[in-house]
Symmetry: C2
DNA sequence: CTGTTAGCGCCTTCAT
DNA sequence: ATGAAGGCGCTAACAG
């Protein structure tokens, strides 16, 4: 059995209050007493029991994080930010992976409440409104981070997808392309970031008096891309020289498809993506893409929660994260 | 303020003992009392406070997981297994990411002890002996999962790298190759899985009377591979037609290097890897590689810990996980 | 500066 | 079958 505050008190020949005072540095303690306590702590290898401490202080220093799949790159990148900033403020992360099951997520939230977490962060690719309601009514601070859905009310951290999309399209245009198609995900597009990307694409094109061609996939799997092969072929036959894709996965599977058909990227066709995670550094050609600051998204989310917990006054500004376009090798300069 | 067991007792007009009995199903309670308690719980939306519960039962149902980088594919894949199996047994995961700093890891272990975790799992790419000692002397069950180091005493879960390496080399030989080189990581090779891989390669080659050529990198970054470009070129000039690589990253960067030099894979040169994570499905050509069961590695590790916690008698067998060779497109059949 | 006391919310004997 | 009482390890008044 680990030693307790009592053992330390006994050994140092003081009361447990005094021990508590030195470990918390809460009230003045005479140098002599402090010395003895410290010594006893050392000898007994005493470590305060956080569970007991939480019970009385009502602070668990725990943030619950519900994710849909810890194995996904998106989730793990966001988690980096959450974990590191949480740590800076002495908060630990309890991690729960739901694999996208909404019912499981409901159970998780209950579990987390019982564990007395002080905040909850949800990192997912799907939407679970029921979970949001439950978190809302729980009155504990929470943040919702979603890979696709970008909903005004839920917003925690946002990115100006429309603007950066326009910039990316400008970049493609500057490289001499004029027949540029976009590919985005159709599902729930009115509530996802995809809408903003397509809007950005279309407005940039219109600003240059160019006509648009917007293709849509069902998702980001290889099959989803192959399913619109006809439309891709069609675009190319009609002179499309560049594809502005709303996600790195789409871009990469598109390139795979093109290469398999003997079409070279970027020599014959240029392609851009959105995301900028590891794969885009390894894959050849190195993808020209928008680097989404996943780490910062996580960091800002937990920071916001901690602010609420600590009742920091921070004016509730909407945080808009800057993004960066990585100009690499998948866009060719036409002459 | 959330309602407590007292509130429930008052509302149901019973003692807190009775409430405790129904929520834990520990002792018989009259149907009538039970009904009233359940009703009160429902109305008050009562959820037992796990912190208080842990304090008295001395069970936190928490497993601490120290990782070097939550953002790494390796870590997140292993975590999937840890999390899911932990969940099955009602254990939650506290996640700490050290970014490889040994001192930080020491602090983490202390932190975890204070949080009263019942077990600790370390998932890393580096070795922290001090941490292992500390965990060992803590007397709480722990498991050490390492991406590279494969040390007899520390073993938690193991893989027969030598055997599968031989099989992979056999596969390459069956495809008509005879001049095959290996590439592995030199660092600490006597204590890493790399040794077994090279051994497997060499023994397969010798069994076929073929001569070996073993190259070594400093690590798995792109630069590490480029640093041995001369040796790679040299091997090719000397007739090498296939490279058996000890890690997917090495294989992929090697292919990048070769392709950049106008050498086609697998048409001119065949390449195999080790790992089988997501990237190898997306990358072209699809890599022929050994699929390491990361999920199972994590699952077995936590299962082992839970066995100790629950004092299950399970004979302390050494678990050897089966692996699978993914025969895909990066090895060409020579005629 | 220090010790005593009263809980935090819950489980668990021990009586009844 | 049920309630009263004690205590898990710790913090926070309250006296002194």
């Amino acid at each position: 059995m680990a030693s307790t505050i009592k053992d330390v008190a006994k050994m140092a020949d003081v009361s447990i209050s005094t021990v508590s005072r030195v470990i918390n540095d809460s009230k003045p303690v005479s140098p002599e007493a402090r010395r003895r306590v410290l010594h006893a702590i050392e000898v007994l290898d005493y470590r305060p029991n956080e569970v007991a401490r939480s019970l009385v202080t009502k602070k668990s220093n725990l943030i619950g994080v519900i994710v849909d799949d810890i194995g996904s790159t998106y989730v793990s990148y966001v988690l980096r930010g959450v974990e590191e900033i949480g740590r800076m403020y002495n908060y630990d992360i309890i991690l729960l992976s739901s694999y996208g099951d909404p019912e499981v997520e409901m159970k998780f939230s209950k579990l987390l409440f019982q564990k007395q977490v002080e905040g909850v962060i949800v990192i997912s690719s799907t939407l679970n409104q029921k979970l949001m309601y439950k978190l809302e009514e729980s009155k504990i601070p929470y943040a919702n981070i979603n890979r696709f859905y970008d909903i005004e009310e839920d917003l925690t951290v946002r990115i100006n997808y429309e603007k950066v999309s326009s910039e990316m399209v400008e970049h493609i245009i500057e490289n001499g392309h004029s027949n540029i198609a976009s590919i985005a995900i159709r599902k729930d597009i009115d509530r996802t970031e995809e809408k903003y990307k397509v809007d950005g694409y279309e407005s940039a094109m219109k600003n240059h008096g160019l006509s648009t061609r917007s293709l849509y996939t069902a998702g980001i799997t290889e099959q989803d891309v192959l399913d619109i092969a006809n439309e891709i072929d069609d675009a190319i036959e009609n002179g499309t020289t560049a594809f502005f894709c709303s996600q790195d996965e789409i871009a990469v599977y598109l390139i795979n498809y093109l290469v398999d058909r003997g079409i070279k990227v970027p020599d014959d066709i240029s392609v851009t993506g959105f995301g900028g995670t590891g794969i885009t550094n390894i894959y050849r050609p190195k993808l020209t893409t928008v680097k989404i600051p996943y780490y910062d998204i996580g960091a800002v989310a937990i920071r916001k929660i901690l602010k609420v917990i600590n009742k920091e006054e921070g004016l509730e500004e909407r945080i808009l994260l800057p993004v960066q376009i990585l100009k690499r090798d998948s866009v060719k300069k036409l002459n």
